[in-house]
Symmetry: D2
Subunit: 140 residues, 4 copies
């Protein structure tokens, strides 16, 4: 039942091939928190040399999904209902790490908090909160 980091990486990469292209990987899994990584990719840069906002949003969303899978097991029909993100600081030219934490584990929704960092720095470059909606049956 419990999924490993490799299991969750495989589920997400199979589900969305584009996320595999970005070198998305779940690094660490614990009951209420996961850490995920996106490789620094020059194709994702925007003017000024920083990772694009959508790259950060995609990582935030994938990290939230990974945290839901880590808690509930394979549950492909969970869908993002809401995501709110604040961009705080220009990321460094480095891999991007996301720590997703479950704030509320409800029957119908999961609310999560994600902090993102450039590898090698302690500054939060973006902060997101979001809600995943669970399928009516609860778990598959």
């Amino acid at each position: 039942m419990t999924l490993t980091a490799a299991d969750i990486t495989a589920i997400i990469s199979a589900g969305v091939p584009a996320s595999a292209d970005s070198g998305f990987r779940v690094e660490t899994v614990s009951p209420g928190m996961v850490v995920c990584r996106t490789h620094y990719d020059e194709r994702q840069l925007r003017p000024g040399g920083t990772l694009s906002g959508p790259t950060m949003m995609a990582l935030a969303d994938a990290a939230m999904y990974a945290a839901v899978l880590a808690r509930l097991g394979r549950l492909e029909m969970a869908v993002t209902q809401n995501l709110n993100i604040n961009f705080l600081k220009r990321p460094l030219p480095a891999d991007l790490l996301a720590c997703a934490e479950i704030l509320k584990m409800g029957k119908r929704t999961v609310v999560l908090d994600v902090k993102m960092y450039s590898e090698g720095s302690q500054d939060v470059v973006a902060h997101a909160t979001g809600t995943y909606s669970l399928p009516p049956a609860g778990r598959e």
Copy 2:
């Protein structure tokens, strides 16, 4: 000074090569509103056959940027400060259209509203609001 739809498409595609891959295109430009399109791309699908959330977030963000460029002209250092998105309905297997409208044109920030539709349908599939931060000088 005024940019056409083709100009803005070129600026955004040059700035972020990955957006060119997605077939992103500005379709219509008017003073307070732009319409943008992302091609339906099977690589962006998620389980269940729908376009992925990040594809929709990327389009929302690009449409907001396009609306800022349409109003202010070439301004490459405008950056997303905040984006909030609600996913309302499963998109159809079709191109995705985004209408971005300026709610507030401030000296330091622009606040925008984006509604997204599947081509051929009038249902709003996602709704986003966001804030772009302008460079201190106002315009470049």
Copy 3:
């Protein structure tokens, strides 16, 4: 089954006595939209002479609830799940009006959009989106 503006005003004022103090009133009800009003109250002013943010948030929340009641009838257990608000412009020293519109009417959630105006002006002073969660049974 269908509630009038006066019915909805009474339900909300009975439910939250503090909202009655603020002179909250539903003005107009139609299937997908309601208009609500809060009286200009000097006690709600903040430094600079403007209505306080919380006054505007309270009106946005009440207007969303009013729109849910207008659509579904008496449903006291609907609760706010998420609210996101952007403050756009300093309100005038005047009553505050809120137009709430339903973006999505789901089985478990209602997503709404609220625009707020100072009476006598067409400028949007604040824009909110929010999600109400419906009781599992759907309707009471």
Copy 4:
């Protein structure tokens, strides 16, 4: 220059008399974090016996403002630009506590995170993020 908890309580209560009515008080001040309290008040209850959403939003907003004052000193023209709140759990019939933390201290904006608790419980009942806009001069 540095303000105490009592100073900040006085500034906020003088600025918005309605917040004084709610028994708002800053409890603890440290450089990047403040803790604030709102008294449990039966007039703020909504059907079901819980504190109303607007009461929680008002506390979140005041706690963010308190954290800005704690960091920058007396700065009456800072205004809320955006607030996003997720309601996670029904609060207990008890005082409400809010811990506000600064995520980003920029020249033009401050981004904050607020967690709210019912006194005597460790469960987060609501979580907010928000942006305060600073006056152009930086500090008064």
